[in-house]
């Protein structure tokens, strides 16, 4: 069984030969700092540059993916032609305005770029027409996309993942408005939030049309997302989720299904267990990152309640175990996750969110090697 077969079997809720591993996507990759430390640890004499400027993460290289036993390979969008990442030096740090008009800063003390300026804090519905929106059909976004996807699909070795969250229509909306204002509007200025989400979704669908027309037939999974929960609860009430978000998720998914047979991966951090039935209802196939230390997100409970209807992708605690635990703790975390979620398939393992700069490289290796050691089906009784 090769990686692709293994992966597709598990997404089909069946047990393959072993539990698949992932690394390299939008929210399933690694900080540049940790990656380069890991290269050193592995005796590889080179350095990798940042791939995602916002998160300061890397696109892992083929030899590393093979060493870690990673079963996925990513198709990333190209750089837009109409906008170039060119941060300016300011008193506070490196500052950049992205193609949406959102301002981000990386200060000398921070590890990545953070949103500090939102272009639409006081905008009305009418103002939305005059904002300078980016072109969702920018030709640069397709650079290399069809070629890479076709090559991966023809080789047939690995699961082909379309990394097409495009910062998500949901998170983009609050970045444009400012997070606090956005959430207050959700209570007091609901029509505006509907109009703003309509706009960001419209652009997102045009973007999906653009990229999926180029490569939809080659993909096994399409990445989507948008954070809906915090450590303790969802950010908004379930009723607000069902009014503002769920119908738009359904539209996006329906559109993706019209362009590709790929499974749909949805990323939301946090304590999102109350929304999982809705996710299943709108047709989400895979939930990521399974933030196991958030309230109500214990792996066994999720598997028991939803495991026959949705797959889980992630699950290794990045808030405590990966940054502060020992390699033995990481191995124990992997075993706990496998025991809870691997039976019957439906599990892809990686860190809960990108592996941050405070994670020792030996813990990264322990994560991947422990899945290799313990993740063989049938699962051992002593796991």
């Amino acid at each position: 069984m090769n990686s692709k077969e293994r992966f597709l079997t598990t997404l089909n809720h069946e047990e393959p030969d072993r539990v698949p591993r992932d690394l390299g996507g939008w929210v399933t990759t690694m900080s540049e700092i940790t990656y380069n430390r890991m290269l050193k640890q592995l005796g590889i004499d080179r350095e990798r540059e940042v791939f995602d400027w916002l998160r300061q993460t890397i696109d892992p290289e083929e030899d590393v993916l093979q060493r870690l036993g990673v079963d996925t390979r990513y198709v990333h969008i190209g750089r837009p032609k109409s906008w170039t990442f060119a941060p300016k030096r300011t008193e506070r740090g490196l500052y950049v305005v992205d193609e949406w008009g959102c301002g981000f800063i990386k200060t000398p003390t921070t590890l990545y770029y953070n949103l500090i300026d939102s272009p639409l804090p006081k905008a009305t519905i009418d103002d939305l027409d005059s904002h300078a929106w980016p072109d969702p059909r920018d030709p640069g976004l397709l650079d290399g996309v069809a070629e890479r996807a076709r090559k991966l699909a023809e080789e047939g070795q690995y699961a082909v993942i379309g990394d097409f969250a495009w910062e998500t229509w949901y998170e983009r909306a609050w970045k444009l408005r400012g997070m606090e204002q956005f959430y207050m509007d959700m209570a007091l200025n609901r029509d505006f939030i509907h109009a703003l989400l309509d706009k960001t979704l419209e652009l997102h669908l045009a973007f999906l049309d653009h990229v999926l027309s180029a490569c939809g037939q080659y993909l096994d999974v399409v990445i989507q997302g948008g954070d809906l929960a915090g450590q303790q609860t969802t950010l908004m009430s379930p009723a607000d989720y069902r009014e503002f978000i769920k119908p738009r998720q359904a539209r996006a998914i329906e559109f993706i299904r019209s362009k590709t047979k790929a499974k749909i991966f949805y990323h939301t951090c946090g304590a999102a267990s109350s929304l999982v039935p809705d996710f299943i209802d709108v047709g989400i196939d895979i939930l990521n990152p399974v933030q196991v230390r958030a309230h109500g997100m214990e792996a066994k409970g999720l598997k028991d309640r939803f495991g026959d209807k949705i797959c889980f992708w992630g699950g290794i605690d990045s808030q405590r175990v990966l940054p502060t635990g020992s390699p033995a703790d990481v191995e124990s975390e992997v075993r706990d996750l496998l025991r809870a979620m691997a039976p019957g398939g439906g599990l892809v393992v990686c860190s809960v969110h990108n592996i941050q700069a405070d994670v020792p490289p030996e813990n990264v290796l322990a994560l991947y090697d422990s899945v290799g050691k313990w993740g063989t089906y049938p699962l051992s009784e002593g796991i």
């Binding site: 200060t107 921070t110 590890l111 953070n114 209570a187 007091l188 303790q232 009430s237 607000d240």
Partner: protein, 206 residues
């Protein structure tokens, strides 16, 4: 009074101001009105802690509360027994630019009658220590969202305690636990903004 309470809960600042004027005109004392608003906000905070209210409801109630207490004016913004609740100095620690959680905590403290000095985000320990010297807070609140800035939080607590061993430090943020608070020598940790107010009251009374 019911209208005032309801207006706080639905985040309706204009009605809060109008109701305050009406009630003051009827002879209600400012302290009594402030107590009523605090009680309303506390109800929203308790619902938030239980998972029955969410970020939008908590934010708008805290904002309306702030509108109401500003409307009463600083001289009147005292509870019926004439006390203020205390002074909170708050910051997101060095290396962390996340401010939504910290701002929500600030708003809820203000809403509960605290004086709040907000130093902003990515604040180095030295600036927090200097601000303690200057403003003599009853309590210092430190926020971090990132695991990578938890060490900055530990360092900040150590620097504060080295100079001001008696100042009470309350920490919060997604990755922060009581175990972590104990390890770094913070006085307490709170899981959310509403709970933080109760913890702060306990620390001040202790």
């Amino acid at each position: 009074m019911e209208n005032l309470r309801a207006a706080i809960k639905r985040g309706d600042g204009e009605t809060v101001k109008a109701e305050l004027d009406t009630l003051l005109g009827k002879g209600h004392g400012a302290g009594e009105l402030l107590d009523a608003m605090i009680a309303s906000l506390r109800e929203v905070g308790e619902a938030f802690s239980r998972g029955d209210a969410f970020i939008p409801e908590m934010l708008i109630a805290a904002r309306a509360m702030q509108v109401g207490s500003n409307h009463l004016g600083p001289e009147l913004a005292k509870t019926s027994d004439g006390s203020t609740q205390g002074r909170l100095l708050i910051a997101t620690v060095s290396g962390d630019l996340h401010d939504v959680g910290k701002n929500l905590v600030s708003l809820v403290f203000k809403g509960n009658g605290f004086e709040v000095i907000d130093l902003g985000v990515d604040v180095p320990a030295s600036r927090i220590v200097a601000a303690i010297e200057e403003s003599k807070p009853d309590i210092v609140g430190l926020s971090a969202l990132l695991t990578t800035t938890m060490e900055a939080m530990a360092k900040t607590v150590a620097e504060i305690k080295a100079k001001y061993p008696d100042v009470k430090i309350l920490i919060g943020g997604a990755p922060v636990t009581q175990e972590f608070a104990d390890r770094i020598g913070a006085d307490a940790c709170a899981p959310d903004a509403a709970a933080a107010v109760d913890v702060a009251r306990r620390l001040i009374a202790a």
